[in-house]
C-alpha cells in the first residue's frame, strides 16, 4: 500500500527525547533524596516507568527496594521512603497513614512524594489535614508524554475519560494543555490548530496561555497541524469490535503500554511471554494495520520466504556459510521467533472468536451502524443478555451510562411501531428492556444516522469490499463503516470546518480552527512539513482509529502522530463506568 501514496509523507520527529527528558527528571528527583531509599510505585505507573528506565537506573540512584503501592501496611525497614504516585486522594491518605503510624511509634524517617505528572491541591490538603504537611516533601515528575511508537504518544491517563466525561472534573485539562505545550516547545511551533469538543477547546486555551506566558523564542519554521478531538464526539467507533490485527490483539489480550502478555495458549509452553508490540517488530509492523482476514495470507507468505532464506544455506561453501551465520542468521532467527509468535496469536484469536459467534456479533454491529434490520439486531442483543448473568451492581452502571448519554430509556409515551412494541413486550426483564431501548434510540433518535449520511460513513459497496487493497478507512471495520473520528480529521484537513456546519451542529458544536503565527499560514500549507499532523484524542483512542489514520496518511501523504490520553477499546470504555468497586 505504501507504493500507492501520492506524496511522500514527512519523517516523524524523534520522540525519544521525551523519554530522556522524563528519565533525567526522575533521576534528578531521586537525587533530591540522597542516600538509600525504598521506592513505592503506584501500580499503573509501573509500566510507563519500565518504558523509560530500568531497575539498574533506579539502583544507581540509591533506590534500595522497590514496592508496589498497595493498600496494606508496609514492611520497609529503610529510613527513607519515596513514593511515586498518581495524584489520587486515596493514595495520599494511605501514605499519610504510614507517616502517622511511624510518628506514633516514634520512628523517624524521611518521606518524599513524587506526583506524576503533577500534584493536585486536593492531595496536598490531605497532607495538611493529616498533620504531616512539611514532614513529607512533595515533588512533581512531569512525565506527561510516553512515546509508545514512532507515531504514537500516550499520556497514560485512562482515568481522564471517567473524570472528565462522567464526573465532569476538569483536573486533567491543564495536564493535557501542559503535555501539548511540551510538544510545542520541543517539536513545534505548529501552524494550524483544529479541534472539536468542549474539552478540546479548553485544552487548547490552557495550552495557548502557557505559550503566551512562556519565553518567546525566535520563531522556528512552523511544523505541522494539530487536531484535537473529544472522545464523546464519537463514542460509536470506540465501542465497535475491532478487526484489524493490532485492535484484535488489544481486544483479546489487552495491550498495556505497548506491551502484550501472551499466555501459555499462545507461547505453547507453560510460561507467559511479554512481547513489545511496535514498529521495531518487523513482522508485527507489517500486519498490525491489516484486516484480520489478510493476516493469515501474509504470515504464510512470510513463512515461505523465511524458509527460502534458511534454505540458502544449502550448497554454500564454508566462507559463504560463515558470512551467512554472522550476518543473516540472527535476523532470520528473530523473524522466525516473531513469526511463530504471531501465528500462534492468530490461532488463539480464531479459537476464541469462533467460540463467541464473532461473525454474528459483527453482523449485528454492522446492521446497527447501517440502521438495517434493527429488530433482528435487538433480538440478537436480547438473546445474549438472556444467556448471561449480571449482578445488581449494574444498577449503578446504568446510572453512569445514562449520565454519559450512552443509555437512553424509551419513554412509555414514545411512539413505537407495532413490531417494536412486541419486541418490547417479549422482554420482561427490566435490565434487558433498558438495554434494548438504548439500542433502539441509538438507531432512531441519535444524531448518528444523520451524521453517517452527511459524512458518508457507510460506504456503498457493489459486491464484495476488497479488504486486501482497501479504498477507504472503512476497511478497519470490514468495509462496513468509516470511523467518524477519523473522517472528521480527513475532512477538516482538506478544507477546514467550512461546509461542515451541519455536521458540527449535530456534534454539539465547539469546533475551532486557529492559525498560529498570524496571517500567511494559508500560504505555507502546501509545504512538506505541513504534512505532519498531530491528532490528539482527549479521552482515549482505539488501535483501529490509529490504523485508519495510518491508512489515511499513506493515501494522502500525511504523517499522523497520534497523541492520546490512553489507548481504549469497547471493554475499557465500559469498565471505566462501572461502579462496583468502592
Amino acid at each position: 500500500m505504501a507504493l500507492n501514496s501520492r506524496r511522500d509523507a514527512p519523517e516523524p520527529p524523534d520522540f525519544s527525547h521525551l523519554k530522556r527528558l522524563a528519565r533525567d527528571q526522575l533521576i534528578y528527583l531521586l537525587e533530591q533524596l540522597p542516600g538509600k531509599k525504598d521506592l513505592f510505585i503506584e501500580a499503573d505507573l509501573m509500566s510507563p516507568l519500565d518504558r523509560i528506565a530500568n531497575v539498574s537506573t533506579l539502583k544507581q540512584h540509591e533506590v534500595d527496594k522497590l514496592y508496589k503501592l498497595e493498600n496494606k501496611p508496609i514492611v520497609s525497614t529503610c529510613d527513607q521512603l519515596c513514593f511515586l504516585i498518581r495524584p489520587r486522594i486515596h493514595s495520599v491518605k494511605w501514605i499519610a497513614n504510614i507517616v502517622n503510624t511511624d510518628k506514633a511509634a516514634g520512628r523517624f524517617r524521611r518521606y518524599k512524594l513524587i506526583f506524576s505528572p503533577q500534584k493536585f491541591y486536593a492531595c496536598e490538603t490531605i497532607l495538611e489535614e493529616q498533620g504531616i504537611y512539611g514532614d513529607v516533601s512533595c515533588d512533581e515528575w512531569e512525565f506527561y508524554l510516553l512515546p509508545l511508537d514512532d507515531d504514537l504518544i500516550s499520556l497514560e491517563l485512562p482515568e481522564f475519560f471517567r473524570d472528565y466525561f462522567l464526573e465532569g472534573d476538569q483536573r486533567w485539562v491543564s495536564t493535557a494543555g501542559k503535555a501539548l505545550h511540551l510538544l510545542h516547545s520541543v517539536y513545534g511551533p505548529f501552524s494550524k490548530i483544529y479541534g472539536i469538543g468542549r474539552c478540546a477547546k479548553m485544552t487548547y486555551e490552557t495550552w495557548r496561555e502557557l505559550v503566551e506566558d512562556g519565553e518567546q523564542r525566535p520563531r522556528q519554521p512552523e511544523v505541522g497541524n494539530v487536531f484535537l478531538i473529544d472522545r464523546d464526539v464519537d463514542f460509536v467507533t470506540s465501542l465497535c469490535s475491532q478487526v484489524v490485527y493490532e485492535g484484535l490483539v488489544d481486544d483479546i489480550f489487552r495491550i498495556k503500554c505497548g506491551c502484550v502478555e501472551f499466555g501459555p495458549e499462545v507461547t505453547s509452553s507453560d510460561k507467559s511471554l511479554k512481547v513489545m508490540l511496535n514498529s521495531s517488530d518487523k513482522v508485527f509492523n507489517e500486519i498490525r494495520n491489516e484486516h484480520f482476514s489478510n493476516v493469515f495470507g501474509f504470515l504464510s507468505q512470510k513463512a515461505k520466504s523465511l524458509q527460502t532464506a534458511y534454505d540458502k544455506r544449502r550448497g554454500m561453501d564454508i566462507q559463504q556459510m560463515k558470512t551467512f551465520v554472522s550476518q543473516e542468521l540472527k535476523g532470520l532467527k528473530q523473524d522466525h521467533r516473531l513469526l511463530s509468535l504471531h501465528i500462534s496469536a492468530c490461532e488463539s484469536i480464531m479459537k476464541k472468536k469462533t467460540k463467541q459467534d464473532f461473525q454474528e456479533l459483527l453482523k449485528t454491529e454492522h446492521c446497527l451502524l447501517e440502521g438495517f434490520n434493527i429488530r433482528e439486531s435487538i433480538s440478537y442483543i436480547e438473546e445474549h443478555i438472556n444467556r448471561q448473568s449480571y449482578g445488581t451492581e449494574h444498577l449503578l452502571t446504568f446510572a453512569n451510562l445514562r449520565k454519559l448519554g450512552l443509555l437512553v430509556e424509551q419513554q412509555p409515551g414514545d411512539t413505537i411501531t407495532a413490531m417494536e412494541n412486541k419486541v418490547g413486550k417479549l422482554v420482561t426483564d427490566k435490565a434487558v428492556g433498558k438495554l434494548t431501548d438504548a439500542f433502539n434510540s441509538l438507531a432512531k433518535k441519535s444524531n448518528f444516522r444523520a451524521l453517517s449520511k452527511k459524512l458518508v460513513l457507510i460506504p456503498k459497496v457493489d459486491g464484495e469490499y476488497d479488504l486486501c487493497t482497501p479504498r477507504d478507512m472503512a476497511y478497519i471495520f470490514s468495509g462496513a463503516y468509516v470511523p467518524l473520528s477519523c473522517k472528521l480529521v480527513e475532512q477538516v484537513l482538506d478544507r477546514g470546518w467550512t461546509g461542515l456546519e451541519e455536521v458540527t451542529r449535530l456534534l454539539n458544536g465547539n469546533e475551532f480552527a486557529v492559525t498560529a503565527g498570524g496571517s500567511g499560514g494559508e500560504m505555507k500549507t502546501k509545504h512538506d512539513s505541513q504534512r505532519l499532523v498531530f491528532v490528539v484524542f482527549l479521552g482515549g483512542c482505539t488501535f483501529s482509529e490509529i490504523s485508519a489514520l495510518r491508512f489515511l496518511g499513506r493515501e494522502r501523504g500525511y504523517k499522523f502522530i497520534i497523541v492520546t490520553t490512553a489507548i481504549t477499546n469497547s471493554a475499557r470504555l465500559l469498565e471505566s463506568v462501572l461502579d462496583s468497586r468502592v
Binding site: Y121, Q170, K201, V211, S389, V514
Partner: protein
Amino acid sequence: MIQNKPDEDDYWNNSKFKAFTFEDEDDEFSQLKESKRAVNSIFVADDDDEDDDDVEKVSWSGEPVGSITWSIRETASTNRMTGEERDYGFPKTETTAQIPSLPKQGSSYSLSSLFKGRSKLGNFQVLSDCIHWVPVGYRPGATNNPSVRSFAPELRKPKSEYKDYISDWSPEDTVRRMQKGKPYSLESFRSLKDKLLLLDEAVQVHDGNIITAVLIFLKRSLSKEILFRELVSRQIALQHFIHFLKEAGEQILLLELLKTLGRTEDMALLQYREHLNIQDEVQRKDFLKGCISLPFSVDDASHVQDHYTLLERQIIVEVNDKHLERAGQTEIFKKYPRKASILNMPIITTLYYSCFYHYGESEGMYSSPTNIKKTFKISDKQYLLAALGARAKLKAWKDVDTLFTTKNWLGYTKKKTPIGFHRVADILHKNNAPVQVLQEYVCLVDDMDLKLNLALKYKCHDVIIDTYKDMKDRHQLMLYRCKVDRSSPEERKIDDILSNTQIRWKN
C-alpha cells in the same frame, strides 16, 4: 545594573527607585523579583540573559511614578480592550465566549506580547500586574527563585502594613499563581463576592485542580447552606465539588448537597452504593431493606426491592444447603460439591443454582426454581435458558425433554420453545450432549438450511440423511455416503434410501 548578589542590599538602599511613593516600596521590589512572570516579560523587553537579578532592566525609571498608580486603576479596563485587538501570535479560539461580567485587568494576556514595540503601555501593564501580586502570600523559601530567598525575609514587613494592597490582589492573579504553583493566599478573599469571583475565575481558566482548590477553601470558609446555594448556579464548580466529596469520602456532606439540589435519585443511588462496603450478608440485607424506601426512580425502586428479596432468600438457601452438604446425605451435593456460596450472586446465577440443586421442588420452597421464577418475574426465555443449562450439565435428558413438551387440547404432545431449537441444540452441544439427544432437537429446527448446517456441525447423521432425502437431493446424499463409516448403520440407511424407487430425486 546589579552584577553580583552581595551588592544587592546596598543597591536597594541607594536606589533611584526611592522616588517611588508606595509606603513599603522595598518590599514591593523584592516581591517583584520573585514573580517569574514579570521577569519573563523583562526578558523579552531586553531579550538578554536569563538571570533573576535584573529588576532594574525594566525601563520605567523615567516614568512619573506617582501617576502610575492612578493610571493603573484608570486603565485597568481599557488595557483589556487594547489587549483584545492585539495579534496574539497564538490566537484564541474564535468561538470562545468570554464571561463579560468578570473584570479582567489585563493579566490573562501575554505580557511579552504587550511589551513588544509598545513600551509605554507595556510598562504600565507590568507594573500593574506586579502590584497586584505583591505582598499577601509571600512565604520565604517557598519560591523557586533562589535570589529572592537570600534577602527577602529581612525585607518582609508585618501584614498590617500592606493590607492596603490585599484588595488589589485580584482573583485573576491569585488563580494564575496557583496554576503556576507559586505562593498565594486565599485569606484575603473574605467577602462572599470576592470568594465567588475567585471561584468564577478558576472556572474561567478551565483548571479543575484550581477549581477544586478554591472549593476546598470555600467549604472551610462558608456555611454549607450558602455554598450550596451558590453552587446551584455554577454547574461546573458543582460537578467538581461533588466529585471531590466522592473521592474524599465525605458521604454525609454530599448527601446533604444532593438533597439541597433536589437530586433525590442521585442521593438514593449514592446511599444504595454503600452496600458494597458491607461484607456481612445479614448486615447487608438489613441495609438493603432500609434502601427500599429511598426515592429511587420507579424502575430502580423495583430493582432494589428485588435485590433485597434476593439476598434474603439467598441467606436462607445458603444456610440450608451448607447444612445439607455437610451432612453428606444428599446425593446431588455429594456428587457435585458446591464450588462457591450462592450469596450475592446475580439472579440468573441463583436460578441456575436452584435448577441444578433444587429442581422439582414444590413452589412453596424458597429454593425451588418455580418460586424464584415467580417471585422475580423471570421471563420464560430466561427461565428456559437457565433450566436447560443446568439440567444439561447434569445430563438429565429427561428433564430437558420435559422442558419443551407441551400438550395441546387434544392431548397430543408437541415440542415448543420460545428460544428456537437451534439455540437449544447449541446449549446441549456445549454441555456435551450425546448425538442421540442432540439430533432430536436439531430435527425440530424449522429452517432447512440451518438444520442441515447444525446437523453437519454436530455430526447428526440421521438428521443429515433425512434432510437430504426430504430435499430430494440424491447428489448430496451420495457425496455424504463417502463420509460415513463403511458398513455402518448410516451407510445402510443411505443405501436403503437411494434404492427407494418411490422418491423423485431432483438430481
